[in-house]
Symmetry: C2
Subunit: 363 residues, 2 copies
């Protein structure tokens, strides 16, 4: 039985699109209204394909549907793997009227979206995110891309989907570690913009970890709504949107240090948010108790609270210097001005940053 | 001594930009008004670098200018070579405020532009085209990209430059074969849109082949103006812009058949335009005499009039079928409705197309 719990429109003028959230939607919802041509290419990976490819095909009755299966994992978010999509499209003679469908987690979404942005200089695409992280993060924002050996997401494009379909049932097959990683981003929305949601999360974190459909649907809806509001105000990441990177500068350094794929993105962001809260507390904008509240929420979600063993303050400084959030060489960080209110700043005192790094790198 | 002969604005709303055309401009014109950050990365190739890199650097006084040198040739218009640009940008820690400068011919322009479109999801770029073909073709349109083993320009993006600087002096170091290749595109503008320019070309082709500055500047200006008018009406290639592909469907088949880089793009387009004129004459929209006028003009420019030896009608049909100008499997061609007036059509009689292919493949 399928049930649409929530629907929202990401408001981007002529690039606006709907996010449809519900239980059991995959295979039940007809997505052909979002397909202009006769061809559809589903991009998925070897883990997701056996679970959901048949149901995904059923969303496109009457269309000529092909499928390309990528290896699974962040370490394959590279050009060689991206090229498998182009190979498939060209071998099956997909024209510039084709529609790509990204069926899977964030890596599949980023790569499928980037392939759509570049194939014949741009074709439409639809997202069917199957992990919690991709549902609350990649669903909104139009960011697509691949990694480079010298940095994450360094090569990519802004490319908005025609529609996003989120089936909460797909979370039932997700390892609990990945559910936790997704919850890191959910917590982030509360921290940067929505104190009420933060309170709700502290009460309901147990239901989310247990994947209770109603709570999960609600958390996804509020997360997507929050991100959509931010992105609508700043589609190309000129200013406000940068607050979405709370925890990400520290987090990317952790991911790069540990090698792509060893730490999950959400795990690194979880630690990064605690580090950002710690630095905010040292800067005096939040209290030590509030900093502890952030750490507790991250911990309740089943996430680590410290960077990997052996990572030093110097590792952080070197890896953060190349992060693309830095403008003209200045290290910009997202900090908390209050609980539920984030700000981008290059003004954090160097000694406070050093103290935060030293505190977290002590094992 | 430098002399600005012509300047035009490509009118694309907030993406509008100037094309500055003149003699001796390289090293003389200050391009820093088109640079927002402090970093500049010049992308060039091993042929152009020793000739013009010093003068190009002088266009950016006070900026931090780096340079990446690519191998020269269409066969390097691939991901591996594109990645050299990303390597250079990341090794030199270029931020998302950097400006890329494409200094060279069409391959450098396409790759430098595509790198700019993708680096950190998009940074600004400036074009300094040094070949006639790139001056009259890549200067306008915002098309960037790379080749795939299964097709030319299959991976790319639309990305408009901040400014284009055209120094006619740079043509003095160009092999005459490449001058001729550029003239193919110049002829194309007359054929598709400007009968008066066509008459002018028949009178002045000798001056162009001899690279007389005033004539060359005039031809570049009229070509860019013509293309800018078409692109302004159809930035994303929805309709009208397709007439710019006169001769290109046949031409791409020739380039693919002969292997990238063996035939110059303009040489293939020259033959393709004669083939399109031949098919138009068979369709009855132009006369046999007008078809001969097209062939004569192409010949006067020093270009071949026939496809490579050994290429068969079947080769053409197979290679044209995968060409991206085809919508939903239909073979669409640009034909002449009259001299100076082109139209896109899928209605050419199959027997006429067969007769044209047979006529040109008889050796």
């Amino acid at each position: 039985m399928s049930k649409i719990l929530h629907q929202l429109i990401v408001d981007l003028g002529e690039r606006s699109y709907p996010i449809i959230i519900g239980q059991g939607l995959l295979g039940e919802v007809d997505l052909t209204p979002y397909v202009t041509g006769s061809q559809v290419m589903i991009v998925t990976n070897e883990t997701v394909a056996p679970l959901y490819q048949d149901k995904a095909r059923e969303c496109f009755p009457g269309k000529c549907v092909d499928l390309v299966t990528l290896p699974d994992g962040e370490k394959y978010k590279d050009w060689q793997t991206l090229n498998l999509i182009f190979d498939g499209l060209l071998e099956k003679r997909h024209t510039r009227k084709t529609t790509l469908v990204a069926l899977g987690g964030g890596v599949v979404g980023d790569m499928g979206g980037f392939a759509a942005a570049c194939y014949q200089r741009g074709v439409p695409f639809i997202q069917i995110p199957t992990t919690l992280l991709s549902q609350v993060d990649s669903s909104v924002g139009g960011k697509t891309g691949i990694n480079h050996p010298l940095g994450k997401n360094m090569i990519g494009a802004f490319h908005q989907p025609e529609a996003v379909l989120i089936d909460t049932n797909s979370l039932k097959t997700l390892p609990s570690r990945e559910v936790s990683a997704g919850l890191a981003e959910v917590i982030k929305y509360g921290l940067i913009r929505d104190p009420g949601f933060l309170d709700w999360l502290e009460v309901n974190m147990g239901r989310l970890v247990a994947l209770e459909d109603e709570a999960v649907g609600q958390a996804i809806f509020r997360s997507c709504t929050c991100k959509a509001e931010v992105v609508a105000k700043d589609e190309r990441e000129g200013g406000l949107r940068a607050i979405l990177n709370l925890g990400h500068t520290f987090g990317h350094a952790i991911e790069t240090f540990s090698g792509y794929g060893n730490w999950l993105h959400g795990e690194a962001v979880g630690v990064g948010m605690i580090m950002a809260a710690d630095l905010s507390a040292r800067e005096g904008t939040i209290t030590r108790e509030e900093r502890a509240r952030v750490a507790r929420l991250v911990s309740l979600a089943g996430l680590p609270e410290r960077p990997p063993e052996g990572m030093t303050p110097d590792d952080f400084m070197n890896l953060m210097a190349v992060d693309k959030k830095n403008v003209d060489g200045q290290l910009r960080l997202v900090l908390l001005r209050a609980m539920g209110d984030a700000v981008v700043t290059a003004d954090a005192a160097v000694e406070n940053l050093s103290a935060t790094l030293a505190g977290f790198c002590r094992h």
